[in-house]
């Protein structure tokens, strides 16, 4: 019998009941809650007279609606204020631990979970947010769910699931200097497409993935959903275990030793069989930029934008033409010809300390170009912000002309006040370049933190490797 994949191991460890129809009742170890997708779930519990099955499996923080500017007053937008207040009220009423807006530990759920050790290897983790796959970086089975399932998990600690197929994405070789985890995942999506992972749980593997820091692995897993896969994951190794030492909710003492023993089993067996395997050469990956309105519409920085007339699939060609029209760009140009109006460094994809260090390394001693209307840095959590300030990164950014903000989802999806104007281009370290995503009529270009900072400095998209340090 073939060995097990990491996904097999995680799945098998959480089956409460296998049903005859092929579905299974799967136990959920951790649920992360935020203000946007939870109010109707709590309301559902109330209407049915139900209580949460296990309070200690949940942790909450507001992130989508919170302002990233001064927080001394109430949230100016009344609808946002009510939504955040509703999360506070629900957590208070039901007894769920929440890091409220003024708590130093508040931040984007996907940054806060690992940072607190609320995310651990071997867990099943869910959240009413599609970027929950982020937590798979730690050898966990993590995926986004809708509000009905948020309520289902609150009420039963379980989900009804059908096992997905398994896809291994192997990134071989060694990354070149200046090429980051973000470039790797954008290159993967460009290769397999936004539906390439639909129906699969992806395991990212190979020397390049192993070489990434935990922050980098989180960036890669975060965007599994942009390749269509609900779950992305990476095997546990020494770096994974090292990451959790001393984290607030991580096991301590004898339990730590037992946990490590278990965590060390969380990798695919050498003879495990995947339903599909895709391989990439890491050495061939260059800094990436998205040009269109889908995360698969990506080019390397020195590549000309593709011609829809050369695309054989008519549905795809039509999508490209629509994207060119929306983005106000033309085939054949390179991204170096494009001037971003704004620069956004943040989001659950790229707002961790390593991301801020990479951007600061580019910004250090330089100035944001006068062509740029606004360049902002939004740390992923209050603790990331503190650490960055301890390292003096905030000063580097501010001296260069970047705004240094409070933590939250911010301009990734523009539910708070941070957004693009109609027709504006943005160099953004976020995860989606859909029409209107960062603001009505806004035009998003997905890049790594270093590439975003480089665009801010030069006033156009540029290969960060051309800027000498």
């Amino acid at each position: 019998m073939a060995g097990k994949t990491l996904y097999d191991k995680l799945w098998d460890a959480h089956v409460v009941k296998q049903r005859e129809d092929g579905t299974a009742l799967i136990y959920i170890d951790r649920q992360l809650l935020h203000e946007v997708t939870s109010p109707q779930a709590f309301e559902g519990l109330r209407l049915a007279g139900r209580k949460p099955w296990r309070l200690d499996a949940n942790i909450a923080t507001p992130d989508h609606n919170v302002p990233t500017t001064d927080r001394s007053g109430p949230i100016a937008d009344e609808v946002s204020r009510i939504q955040v207040q509703t999360l506070d009220d629900n957590c208070d009423e039901f007894g769920i631990v929440e890091f409220k807006m003024h708590d130093a530990r508040q931040g984007i759920v996907h940054v806060v979970g690992p940072e607190q050790g609320a995310t651990l290897p071997g867990m099943t983790i869910v959240c009413g947010d599609s970027h929950t796959a982020t937590h798979g970086a730690f050898g966990a089975l993590a995926h986004g769910i809708g509000t009905s399932e948020v309520e289902h998990v609150l009420a039963t600690q379980c989900l009804i699931q059908k096992k997905m197929k398994s896809l291994q994405i192997k990134v071989n070789g060694v990354l070149g200097a200046g090429v980051t985890a973000k470039d790797v995942v954008l290159a993967i999506i460009a290769k397999i497409g936004t539906a390439g992972g639909t129906g699969y749980a992806i395991e990212f593997a190979g020397p390049v993935i192993e070489s990434l820091s935990m922050e980098g692995r989180m960036t890669v897993c975060n965007m599994a959903i942009e390749a269509g896969a609900r779950a992305g994951m990476v095997a546990v190794d020494e770096k994974t275990i090292e990451y959790f030492k001393g984290r607030t909710y991580a096991p301590k003492g004898g339990q730590w030793d037992r946990a490590v023993e278990y965590w060390n089993t969380l990798h695919s067996d050498a003879d495990a069989q995947f339903d599909a395997v895709v391989e990439l050469d890491g050495a061939a990956i260059k800094p990436q930029v998205s040009w269109g309105t889908s995360p698969e519409m990506v080019v390397a920085i020195d590549e000309p934008l593709p011609d829809p007339d050369a695309e054989s699939d008519p549905v795809k060609a039509e999508g490209m033409r629509r994207a060119y029209h929306y983005m106000g760009l033309k085939p054949g140009i390179t991204m170096a010809d494009v001037v971003p109006d704004r620069v956004f460094i943040g989001s659950c994809t790229n707002s961790r300390i390593e991301d801020l260090r990479a951007a600061a390394a580019v910004a250090k001693g330089r100035k944001v170009s006068s062509k740029i209307k606004q360049a902002m840095v939004v740390p992923g959590s209050g603790l990331v912000k503190q650490q960055a300030e301890d390292e003096g990164l905030d000063k580097i950014f501010v001296e260069a002309g970047f705004e240094w903000r409070e933590p939250g989802c911010s301009m990734c999806l523009a539910m708070n006040a941070d957004r693009l104007g109609d027709g504006e281009h943005c160099a953004s370290t976020s995860n989606r370049n859909f029409e209107g995503r960062q603001g009505y009529g806004g035009r998003t270009h997905l890049v790594s933190p270093a590439m975003a900072a480089a665009a801010a400095i030069t006033g156009h998209f540029v290969d960060v490797r051309e800027l000498s340090h």
Partner: protein
């Protein structure tokens, strides 16, 4: 949830691939703490010529006459005909809430994004996967015949066309059962409460650190 019954509905064609959930219901409307009232803002950025605001009365907003749902021939449509990878992007259940609130009861497409697909079943919206050539043919039929309608028969897993011909479709038996009976699956899961407790008791022995950490 209401029981999902057989119905005949006008088909509205949305001829673009990769329709994402931001397009189905833009983020500003996600600030609502209710499950209802999203219909007027379904496809907001395609449907209207201005930027929509939450809580706004949409009746006097400038509409985009080119958008398919604004065309009189598709008024009252309850079957949405779509292209591949429909519903990609975020996990927002507001997407199926907006589609059903508008009046759609089914979406026909060559493929769907996983989370959207799953969310739809929880809300009485039936996503049906059909082969690309069948979808292509339906687009042609809808364009050629004003008032083109299909009968959706979930119980028999059949779509009946106006000419009497039938398209068979697949659906997961458990999801079909829940839709047809209008079942609350939390109630179903809680019938296995003892199994869940047994699982937890065993898990506490092997992985005690997974319990009682967050207080």
């Amino acid at each position: 949830m209401e029981k999902y019954t057989q119905f005949e509905g006008i088909v509205a064609p949305l001829d673009r691939a990769n329709v994402d959930t931001d397009l189905i219901i833009p983020k500003q409307f996600l600030k609502s703490i209710k499950r209802t009232g999203f219909g007027p803002n379904l496809f907001d950025e395609l449907r209207y010529l201005d930027e929509g605001q939450p809580g706004q009365d949409c009746t006097n907003r400038p509409i985009n006459p080119d958008f398919v749902l604004n065309q009189p021939r598709y008024k009252g449509a309850s079957v949405l005909l779509a292209r591949r990878n429909f519903g990609c992007g975020s996990s927002r259940e507001h997407a199926p809430w907006a589609l059903t609130d508008f009046g759609f009861r089914t979406v026909l497409a060559p493929s769907f994004a996983d989370i959207f697909f799953n969310n739809s079943f929880k809300n009485g919206l039936l996503p049906i996967v059909l082969a690309e050539d069948i979808i292509e043919d339906l687009f042609k039929q809808v364009a050629a015949h004003e008032g083109y309608a299909l009968t959706i028969d979930l119980a028999n897993q059949q779509i009946r066309k106006p000419d009497g011909s039938v398209i068979e479709f697949e659906v997961d038996p458990f999801r079909k059962h829940c839709l047809i009976e209008g079942l609350d699956d939390i109630g179903l899961t809680l019938q296995d409460a003892d199994l869940i407790k047994d699982y937890e008791a065993a898990r506490r022995q092997t992985a005690p650190w997974l319990f009682d950490a967050i207080k």
